[in-house]
Amino acid sequence: MGRSEYLGEFEQMVLLSVLRLGSDAYGVSVHEELGRTTGRETKRGAVYVALERLAAKGYVSSRFGDPTAERGGRAKRYYAVEPAGRTALRASRQALMHLWSGIEPELEDR
């Protein structure tokens, strides 16, 4: 993997959400999934920015679905995690685990 850059925290969460949602990952569902799993209110715009950025890095790809009436006749844009994205996630997790190893006792009584 070499000198690949690590994912930002929010990028990581968005990427994981897309992964969890599988074939149903689009703007609304990713936003809701983030809210559910993190328990925090995130800005819609931030999600789009992160998805754009991930797409620019080649970590996710997107395709347009069929227009539906409940969305005012507009198509959904579905996202899927690309192999590069999985690699980046793995690298990030690994790096974090290295950092975490052996310091849990440090955090116990603070």
Partner: protein, 887 residues
């Protein structure tokens, strides 16, 4: 919403934008405004990402290692773009200071733009016609034969000579939609040709309108908008002017309101119609009579012909005429001058007033610029680390200066755009105001024209250089020294921001003083005992004379109108009068008192008013003794009069005037009037008039004299009732649908009008002063905050060695107030200059009014103090350990 969607599409492409819109439709907020805000939020975030994210834009999969080095901008344009992009990034990271700077500029430049627009419309182009310098007129009025001779004699000098006569009172223009009072100019057919104006719709008057006696008329653009909703269908239809059917053939050019700035003409008809239209005395004017002098003339000189040559030619022609037919009007005969000058009444006063405004907005702009410079300078000082670093890394100083200048230019550009909006708003806000010369600002059609735009942008540019170069130079000079020097150094006492804040305090004080003078003058003027109760009283001027009523019909109409109005439940009383206080206009006549030897100490003549029964009750004028007029005081009964206190006290000091008799010129000779009542003194013509003898007589006893003249109808609304203006119009229309009921206004509003130009001064200067105060506060705050920042360590050390929080707070306060204390005397000096400017506009007040000066100084000081408090408190409360640890 559409703009937001468009922006989205530009940012991420149309399909993706559509998907986002779909997402919002699916789960976004239902409320329109929230949805709008949320969409813009997304646009902003994506836009920010796009600007910042240029560096992310590389083929997917490429790793950071082989990223090509960022290209140096190859062209000047590219470098500029880089500067601009960087500038925006800086602005975003300092939203508050950027906001203050843009707002300052918007207000400063906007105020100047508004005033320049007014100046342009009033002083520079009072006659909105092409090449106004070619237009000449004469102060003299001529007869029609005179005009024809002059026109024939001056064909070598003039491309054309037009004549017109303005109606002395509004005519009634009635259509199916209602009746409007319209000031009318009766003009020769070449009137608009000489002016070289183009119609707003249809056609204007033309020469063959003179020959034919077909009644046609051109309405003003404003009337077209107000009365006919700009409906082109009005062209070719008939309206009734003073009862005469007139075909509307066209609409005048937008913004053209006649040949005088202080009167708004709404209708132009051919001169030949005057006998049909002009009621009363005007009908006595005869076309073929050289002694009927009633026409004003206007001509356009041919290229290269001087005003003097035109005058000489006309004078020669006039002398030939006089040889034929001597006239007593030789004196100022044919004094030819610029028509544009003639369009501006009381030019001296107007010029003086506009100069005052210009000076005031000039000061406001100076204050705004100082403030912006201060903001930028403070920020530059904060940024010295960044700048030093860049210099240390090899950026040439010119590059940094260019960057700072670019930032200033961008700021002023943004300020300039915001200023245009503010100026537009200002012009709307002042439209109702009236300045000296009785010019209503809204009627001179001040539009933000291209001249103004250019002037604004020049001002903005001047500002940019003024505050861009200074801070830039100051900011880069000691850059490296500062980087290495640390921050324990005690800052220089007189840093550039302090000097600027000092100037700012001085200028602001002068403005606050100027505004204060006008506010005080306004309250002085308004705070007088009028001798009546204006609250709830409404007034309209009605003119049945133009509809052809005779004296008897007018008398009947007056009675019916009062009955109609008093049948409206919310109206307590209604009455007629020739004059209603406090309006311009008076009538004076000689009189004698029976049984009194007249000496030089006695007033030989007295102002009088013709009123109907109920007048005193309607206006709330108190009666000292006796009675007011009753329905029985009519033609054929004993002539009666009510005098005011001053009158009664002069002739019967300590006694009673009721029952005494006054001699007065009446029908068929001197008549005897019995005094039946004494009323309180009222301000009859102006708020500052001295009490003078005054008489009221019943209009019904003098109907033969008043005839069908224009009278004022006044009525009093019951307390807490909703003004029944529309009902009044309906009831009056029932009596005569062709009767125009012009602007019904409350007496309170008319009294307030009297306080011009104090009101204009108070509103404009008050606004600028408030604005300048805000800016000065920000400026002082900026100085003290910067001083604080540079002395963080010093304060920490002082605290650490035992100084109390209070001591430190005072230290900071002292530092912040220093520019204020020096600025105040500067302000006093400037205030002295201001007082000389405004001296002519402050009746009843010394222009160096000490109370105002003290108050202005106190306000300035308190505001500056308040601006210092947050920083002082912050310094006092700061934990010394924390302070020292920051380094």
């Amino acid at each position: 919403m559409r703009v937001a969607t468009w922006c989205l599409a530009r940012l991420v492409g149309t399909p993706a934008a559509s998907a986002i819109a779909g997402d919002l439709a699916e789960s976004g907020p239902a409320d329109q405004w929230k949805l709008w805000a949320e969409t813009w939020g997304i646009v902003l975030r994506l836009g920010t990402e796009r600007v910042r994210g240029q560096r992310f834009e590389r083929p997917s999969g490429a790793s950071a290692g082989n990223r090509p080095p960022r290209k140096k901008p190859s062209s000047v344009g590219g470098a500029l773009l880089g500067d601009v992009r960087f500038a925006f990034r800086v602005f975003r990271s300092h939203p508050v200071t950027t906001g203050v700077a843009v707002l300052s500029l918007a207000l400063g430049i906007g105020a100047n733009t508004a005033i320049f627009s007014l100046l342009d419309a009033i002083v520079l182009r009072p006659l909105p016609a092409p090449r106004p310098a070619e237009l000449v007129t004469s102060r003299t009025v001529f007869s029609f034969p005179d005009y024809e001779d002059l026109a024939a004699a001056s064909t070598d000098e003039l491309t054309g000579l037009a004549a017109w006569s303005a109606s002395s009172r509004p005519y009634s223009l009635a259509s199916a939609d209602g009746a409007w009072p319209v000031l009318t100019e009766l003009a020769t057919g070449n009137f608009f040709d000489v002016l070289e104006l183009r119609p707003g719709a249809g056609r204007l008057l033309r020469e063959d309108d003179d020959a034919r006696n077909v009644p046609v008329g051109v309405i003003s653009h404003r009337l077209w908008e107000v009365a006919f909703d700009s409906d082109p269908a009005i062209i070719g239809t008939d309206v009734r002017v003073n009862g005469v059917p007139i075909t509307v053939v066209g609409v005048g050019p937008a913004g053209f309101r006649g040949t005088r700035l202080n009167r708004s003409v709404d209708l132009w008809v051919p001169l030949t119609l005057h006998e049909q239209l002009a009621p009363g005395s005007r009908a006595r004017i005869r076309f073929d009579d050289r002694n009927s002098q009633w026409l004003r003339i206007m001509g356009r000189t041919r290229p290269g012909v001087s005003v003097e040559r035109t005058e000489a030619t006309m004078l020669a022609s006039a002398q030939r005429m006089l040889a034929l037919e001597p006239s007593p009007y030789l004196d100022d005969f044919v004094e030819v001058g610029s028509a544009a000058d003639a369009a501006l009444p009381r030019a001296d006063e107007v010029h003086q007033f506009m100069n005052l405004l210009l000076a005031m907005v000039g000061i406001a702009l100076l204050v705004a610029c100082t403030n912006v410079a201060n903001v930028l300078l403070t920020r530059t000082t904060e940024r010295h680390q960044e700048l030093s670093l860049r210099m240390a890394l090899g950026a040439p100083r010119t590059r940094l200066i260019r960057q700072l200048v670019t930032e200033s230019l961008l700021l002023s550009l943004m300020g300039g755009v915001a200023a245009l909006l503010f100026a537009r708003w200002t012009l709307g806000a002042v439209a109702g105001l009236q300045i000296p010369g009785r010019i209503v600002l809204g009627e001179v059609a001040p539009t933000l024209n291209t001249t103004t735009l250019v002037v604004t942008m020049l001002i903005a540019l001047g500002c940019a250089l003024l505050f861009g170069v200074g801070p830039a130079l100051a900011g880069t000079r000691p850059a490296v020294a500062r980087l290495s020097g640390g921050s324990t150094r005690i800052g220089r006492r007189w840093s550039a921001p302090s000097v600027l804040a000092t100037i700012q305090v001085g200028l602001t004080l002068a403005l606050v003083f100027g505004g204060g003078l006008f506010v005080r003058s306004l309250t002085t003027v308004l705070d007088v005992d009028l001798g009546l109760d204006p609250t709830g009283v409404y007034v309209s001027s009605l003119d049945v004379g133009v509809l052809g009523y005779d004296a008897e019909a007018a008398g009947v109409f007056r009675g019916e109108a009062v009955a109609q109005l008093e049948s409206i439940p919310s109206i307590e009383r209604a009455a007629w009068a020739l004059f209603v206080p406090v309006q311009n206009g008076m009538r004076m006549d000689d009189f004698r008192v029976v049984g009194h030897e007249f000496t030089d100490a006695d007033p030989g003549s007295v102002a009088l008013n013709y009123v109907s029964p109920g007048f005193f009750e309607t206006l709330g004028i108190r009666l000292r003794s006796g009675r007011s007029f009753a329905a029985g005081d009519r033609d054929g009964t004993q002539l009666v009069v009510v005098v005011n206190e001053t009158f009664a006290d002069h002739f019967w000091p300590g006694g009673t005037a009721v029952g005494e008799r006054v001699l007065f010129p009446g029908r068929g000779g001197i008549v005897e009037l019995e005094i039946v009542g004494v009323s309180a003194d009222t301000k009859t013509r102006g708020l500052r008039e001295e009490a003078a003898p005054y008489m009221y007589v019943p209009v019904d006893q003098w109907g033969w004299l008043i005839g069908a003249d224009q009278l004022r109808l006044a009525w009093r609304e019951a307390p807490d009732s909703v003004a029944s203006v529309d009902t009044v119009r309906e009831r009056l229309a029932e009596l005569d649908p062709a009767l125009p009921v012009p602007g019904i206004r409350s007496l309170d509003a008319q009294i307030f009008d009297q306080a011009m130009p104090q009101r204009v001064g108070a509103v404009l200067l008050g606004t600028f002063a408030g604005m300048a105060l805000l800016l000065a506060a920000v400026g002082v705050y900026g100085v003290i905050a910067a001083a604080m920042a540079s002395r963080v360590r010093e304060i920490g050390i002082r605290r650490a060695v035992g100084a109390h929080g209070r001591d430190v707070g005072l230290l900071v306060l002292r530092r912040g107030l220093l520019p204020v204390l020096v600025g105040l005397p500067l302000g006093w000096f400037l205030a002295f200059l201001v007082s000389r400017l405004v001296a002519g506009f402050l009746p009843g007040l010394s222009p160096t009014d000490p109370a105002t000066l003290v108050a202005a100084t106190a306000v300035m000081f308190v505001v500056a103090l308040i601006a210092c408090v947050p920083s002082a408190l912050q310094a006092a409360r700061r934990d010394p350990a924390l302070v020292l640890r920051t380094d």
